[in-house]
């Protein structure tokens, strides 16, 4: 079956000349819960930016359900909740949701209806008329997720959704993502919390220094590295990769 996301030879060299991602290949199967795991600066956000038309690839091809990633057909299939909260401070909570759906071509009545549904699901109904700047951190995270879901994406990309959030919100977010996955949504999640990948992801790619150093099902990885859990896999793979780097440097 055609993958939800297919990346071939993706390279990104930023303006300063720094190559953040180098010749990366990745397939995310349709319907999977896919974890992209790696330390800070590994290139996760860069890759996601390229998929979502926010970073200009230096080289490589990216397809979303078989469509070139920058085609409108691809764009409307992807929902993105970015790592850093980026909400329009001039709009109210319900307007944030409605306009977002609008950019995806939704009719007003439907956008309003869907915004109400999602505010209900994410416990934001009482804040419908409030500006995002007046929300608590947890509410902003939930709004970010609700916004990403407004246009009914088939591929949902969550970039470190739980970085810096409290335990309660984290378990809430896990609950939401599990249900979305159960309903058929493909989820690409980046994280550097190993227990999060362990708890949620069926397939995992480990990324370091802009390269994929391992990619398999969670079980496959545990077997390959002879580890009990993903934490063990991660540490082993990272230290192998560090060894390779030193070898290359020599």
């Amino acid at each position: 079956m055609r993958p939800a996301l297919s990346v071939r030879g993706f390279t990104k060299t930023y303006d300063g000349g720094f190559t953040a991602v180098d010749g990366l290949d990745l397939d995310v199967p349709d319907g999977s819960f896919f974890g992209l795991l790696g330390p800070n600066g590994a290139g996760k956000t860069t890759l996601i930016g390229a998929v979502c038309n926010l970073v200009r690839p230096t080289a490589g091809e990216i397809e979303v359900f078989g469509h070139p990633h920058d085609a409108r057909n691809a764009r409307r299939l992807v929902g993105l909740a970015e790592q850093d909260i980026n909400l329009d401070r001039f709009l109210t909570v319900s307007e944030v949701l409605i306009y977002h759906a609008g950019f995806f071509g939704m009719a007003r009545r439907r956008a309003k209806g869907r915004a109400e549904e999602l505010m209900d699901v994410f416990d934001l109904t009482s804040k419908a008329k409030v500006r995002p700047t007046a929300l608590s951190g947890g509410m902003r995270r939930r709004l970010l997720l609700a916004r990403a879901l407004m246009h009914e994406p088939r591929l949902l990309i969550l970039d470190e959704p739980t970085a810096g959030v409290d335990v309660e919100l984290r378990s809430e977010l896990w609950e939401y993502t599990r249900k979305l996955h159960a309903a058929g949504t493909t989820i690409l999640l980046t994280t550097h919390y190993l227990e999060e990948a362990e708890a949620l992801c069926e397939e995992i790619a480990l990324i370091r220094g802009g390269r994929i150093i391992a990619r398999d099902s969670a079980d496959g990885l545990r077997a390959r590295y002879g580890a009990d859990d993903i934490a063990g896999v991660y540490l082993q793979a990272m230290s192998d990769a560090a060894g390779d780097d030193r070898g290359a440097a020599r």
């Binding site: 979502c52 038309n53 329009d88 950019f103 549904e117």
Partner: protein
């Protein structure tokens, strides 16, 4: 309700259809943004232009001789109107774009199915509408207070359209290049404002000593003021064609620059 109750999966191969144009939604957002703050974005600038008309035109106007047969209070109206329009268009768009960039909610638009030129138009439209409303308000008040006429309405309409396009685009460009709010304030107070005051709003450049007259002619805003003055009182310091030609060149050049920024993603996307 649970999130799985409200999840439906789109067919990845179904053609993309918009029930309501995304472009319309973006335009709406940009217009709503300044209308929510209409006291600051419309009334305040109109009031300050009006102060100039009252102080310079009505209070001092009688002590100042007619300029080219036009009473002074009427002479200053066209320049003040165009200055208000261009400032509104420029400042609206530079701040909306810079805010969207610095808070990164512009990503919400850039990652949507909107085409690059739709994003360009959508982000520019707020300034166009705000400039237009500002211009209409001032026109009505200026005519009512000073009795100035509109001798050549067609010239005024064409000039208004061109000024709106040029400065709406300039605002977007500034918002894309800006790195700080300071930079934006710098452009407004040290470029736009001096150029418009030196552009002959309050005087005819014929009266300036030689060198200053030459300097005036390289100031693009001078031609905007002339075009508006021709529209209102029927004549200016340069020919109608020259004034409009400069406006066309300005609007076309700035639009091309802006289009290039959106098409390539230069500065918008790393």
């Amino acid at each position: 309700m649970s999130v799985s109750d409200v999840t439906t999966l789109p067919d990845p191969d179904a053609p993309f259809v918009e029930d309501r144009r995304g472009l319309l939604w973006l335009c709406e957002r940009e217009v709503v943004r300044f209308l929510k703050l209409w006291m600051q974005t419309l009334i305040a600038p109109v009031m300050s232009s009006l102060l100039f008309i009252v102080v310079f035109g009505l209070a001092l106007g009688d002590t100042i001789a007619d300029v080219d047969g036009v009473p002074y209070k009427q002479f200053i109206v066209p320049g003040l109107v165009v200055q208000a329009i261009l400032t509104a268009a420029y400042s609206n768009n530079s701040s909306t774009v810079f805010q969207a960039r610095s808070d990164r909610f512009i990503n919400d638009v850039l990652s949507s199915p909107l085409r690059w030129w739709e994003v360009n138009i959508g982000l520019a439209i707020g300034g166009v509408v705000r400039g237009l409303l500002t211009g209409i308000l001032l026109l009505v008040l200026g005519v009512a207070i000073t009795g100035v006429g509109v001798e050549r309405p067609l010239v005024l309409i064409v000039a208004t359209v061109l000024v709106l396009i040029a400065f709406a685009q300039l605002g977007v460009i500034a918002g894309i290049y800006a790195n700080s709010w300071d930079f934006m304030a710098f452009v407004t107070s040290l470029v736009i404002l001096p150029l418009s005051f030196l552009g002959g709003i309050f005087y005819s450049v014929d009266r300036l000593p030689g060198a200053w007259e030459v300097v005036s002619h390289v100031n693009p805003i001078f031609y905007l003021v002339q075009a508006f003055r021709i529209g209102f009182v029927g004549h200016g310091d340069v020919s109608t064609w020259l004034a409009l030609l400069v406006l066309v060149a300005l609007a076309a050049g700035l639009s091309a620059w802006c289009a290039w920024l959106f098409r390539t993603g230069h500065r918008l996307k790393p």
